[in-house]
Symmetry: C3
Subunit: 158 residues, 3 copies
């Protein structure tokens, strides 16, 4: 029976998103089943930059939209971000080494039959609409996440 990996993507920072997606892709390559559950800041990784909307949102929800990253490419580093300079530098270093960018790891994950879940409570609190997410994303609650995670061989909080 296939091993299972469950990742709770909480932080929504560029480098941690990279770490999670590299593990998810590598796991699929050795035929491990993968679930990624996006909560809180992690939701910014699976919002579709083309589909963001300010309609039907409260003033706080609109403000949240304005001050937060527009898509994966704008996520900050967890350290030494320097208003985005650090992330640009990291991306240059990745390019020098022919390493794929975050967006490519995300594309890879989307093609590899990984389960993408978004945390229901986080979605509601942040005021995101279901249609703002990538089409693969299914919205589930904490208890559905826990059931999946408890049956996995490995769980990480990233």
């Amino acid at each position: 029976m296939a091993k299972k990996l469950n990742l709770l993507m909480f932080s929504g920072e560029y480098d941690k998103a990279m770490a999670g997606l590299i593990l998810a892709n590598a796991a699929r390559d050795i035929e491990v089943e993968v679930t990624m559950f996006f909560a809180f800041w992690g939701l910014f990784l699976v919002r579709d930059p083309e589909k963001m909307t300010l309609e039907d949102k409260t003033i706080y929800e609109k403000l949240m939209d304005v001050i937060t990253p527009k898509g994966p490419q704008q996520l900050p580093l967890s350290r030494m971000n320097f208003s985005g300079l650090g992330r640009m530098m990291l991306e240059e270093m990745m390019e020098d080494n022919n390493a794929p960018k975050l967006i490519h790891f995300l594309k890879g994950a989307r093609k590899k039959n990984i389960k993408f879940y978004a945390c229901k409570l986080s979605v509601e609190i942040m005021g995101f609409k279901p249609e703002e997410f990538l089409p693969e994303v299914e919205i589930i609650d904490a208890s559905a996440y826990l059931k999946d995670a408890l049956e996995s061989d490995m769980q990480l909080f990233i």
Copy 2:
């Protein structure tokens, strides 16, 4: 036999504390056993704001008390805290959605037969007195934590 969830609460930030407590409460609701082990900054979540004391503390320990949060409601966000403005905004958004506040999730956890442990070494280094914690909190060392965690079905470092 009941499944077991073990959470190492390290960060002591408002949003991560929320994540841990939401999982802990949801786990109890599906009859999963839960241990929460509070270490380092995580200890700020289980100090009783009514029982903090400066007595018998070194100058550093007093300073630590003065510059750190007084109780769960003062914990900062891990991102976009903006000196507390971000946290206030998040709380408003939670209220708009009738989502319980951190303090309610903590109250829930305390009623649901969750094991609360504090890390002995962290308590000593930070100079906290055992009586400064919520009464449920038991102080144990890293090896007692490990034994519990290794027998759990799932462990997260939050």
Copy 3:
């Protein structure tokens, strides 16, 4: 059969490095097998301060070397670092309690037959040379890490 603990050391902050090394040491003391996999910022914990080099590095790699910590003792705190003042204060508090410093926990771990791995992709992107690391460190890829982690009884992302 011995239980196994697998730690993914991502953050490279002083307090989180302490947490990981305290767990690793405590686990060995109760005969649990331990793997530590260092990735991204976590690599700064296992670079040998005596062996850092700027030779054969691109301009970005050199810049990275200049702006990042020179060895474990210079790692920042994840919170309240205050340009290093917070870390110094924490170290004083640890000394007051006769608690070993980070460097001692690292030395302990190196003597206790813990497996030290560095993430191949992170090493390449950051432009580190294999000879810049502590001699115990072996460089492996994400899929080798996953195989080890999936066979462990417990995994944490720190």
